[in-house]
Amino acid sequence: MTTVEERTITLESARAGTGPATWGQRAIWGVVTRLGDDAPRYNLRLDLPLNPPRPAARVLADLTELLRMHDSLHTRLLPDGADGLEQVVDGAGELPMAVRTCQVEQAPAVGAALMEELAGRSFDHAREWPFRVGLVECENQVHRLVLAASHTAMDLWGEGRMLRDLELISAGETAEALLKARPALQPLEAAAHQTSALGRRKDAGARRYWCERLAAGPRRIFRNPAAPELAETEPGRLFPNALLRSPALAVAAERVATELGVSDAAVLLGAASHQLARMSGSSDVLFQVVVSNRFQPAAAESVSTMAQEAVFLLTDADKDFEEAVRRTRSVSFSAFRHAGYDKWALDREVARLVERGEAADHSCWWNDTRDPSDGPFDTVEHPSAPPRELLDQTELTWPTEFLPRANVSIAVDALTAPGALELAMTADPAVISREGMERFLRGVEELVVAKATARGEG
């Protein structure tokens, strides 16, 4: 039998203040507010088994310390006029904590249900903190910690930082000591920079860069879409999701990166651009690339949501793969330098370009989610076989289908897996068929493996 109880985490004397919302907060708040009842799909979810189990009082103390460390977890967002959004960092308050008590063997199922309960409903950003906590207790010990966060509080990178900090706190560290050793940029500090003269100049520069690239890019990338009639006849069509899991690509990407003197991120994006150009019929390709915006050390320690989209335009991407990769490096630098901006202002400018028919097709997305400090061969042995011989270990699966996504032709994520690199692709069937998706993913893999083989004689 499961019993239900509610306790509270009490925060006192934490940092507090009020200021304009950051670019990241504004961008995500705008999205989730527009989504309404569908907003919970943007919530971040963590259902963590505790090994060994811990007393509830210890877990509660750890979470209080975590709140003291990261302001974004106790920040509310309030609309301020037509174009304003204010962040209010509360220095004190109470966070409800849902507690479920059950038998040990029931803990995973109870945790999953609690996760759905916490993350399955929208946050009221004006009234509540963007963070929900649940515990699954068995025999007077917490067996599972369930955390749900609004995307306005953190992005995926921030989630990783929060988890790391929670583990350090659980091991005995304090927020004060951790912040002293590794200062983390807090949202009010970020907003102060963004509203300074330098920040405003960067914002204007980034939006100018975006609009220039959009004006210069191809109006249409997929010249021969797979089933264009579906856009009209099946507005509710599901978008297939394919997952390529490739040890060969993991080995080959690092080898090509070393040989060309670029990052493996440039190798993958360059390969995706080259393959897209070859398949689509458009020599120039444009991706919206998700950028973590954590180049400075204090930003890298931040939990707050900072990731935004960069516009990446690669001309003549179909001509030569190696050249495409080399240019990807420098074009990425420029694009990433212009990935911090006021999204609301940019959206207005892009809408004007679209209205005038002057905007490039910006429906292709690239998100390299990999953490550079977390490699595919950190926990498994690096294969001694050359990439070509690893190709028979590649797996292509179709894990799910998604509801239609606005302005998405293809969206590709690069992920790290133990001993492999994964490419997850979601695509509009009106634009590209399942066969086309497989050809794209295997084409990216083959490009990188072939280059690694040619250079490494392997």
Binding site: L198, A266, F295, R329, V331, F333, F336
Partner: protein, 87 residues
Amino acid sequence: MDSSALRTKILDLAIAAGDGSVTADELAGANYSLRDVGYSSLSYMRLIDSIENEVGVYLDPEAPTEHYETIDSVTALVVASGIGADA
């Protein structure tokens, strides 16, 4: 800032942007070649960002790669991009 002070500033920023991956001794041993010490893409991003924040000069990330190969070439690029040696 004279050219020597500017170069020292760029060197300090480059080491800081390396975030522990490169030391002053290593750079000196490599004749101040960022390429030879394996300066990462992330470090370059940080360096360009730091130069804009602290020197007030915006560097074009798409400038030819040779401009980013050494401390001296980066310093020269900063001068060419807007800061005079006596600025």
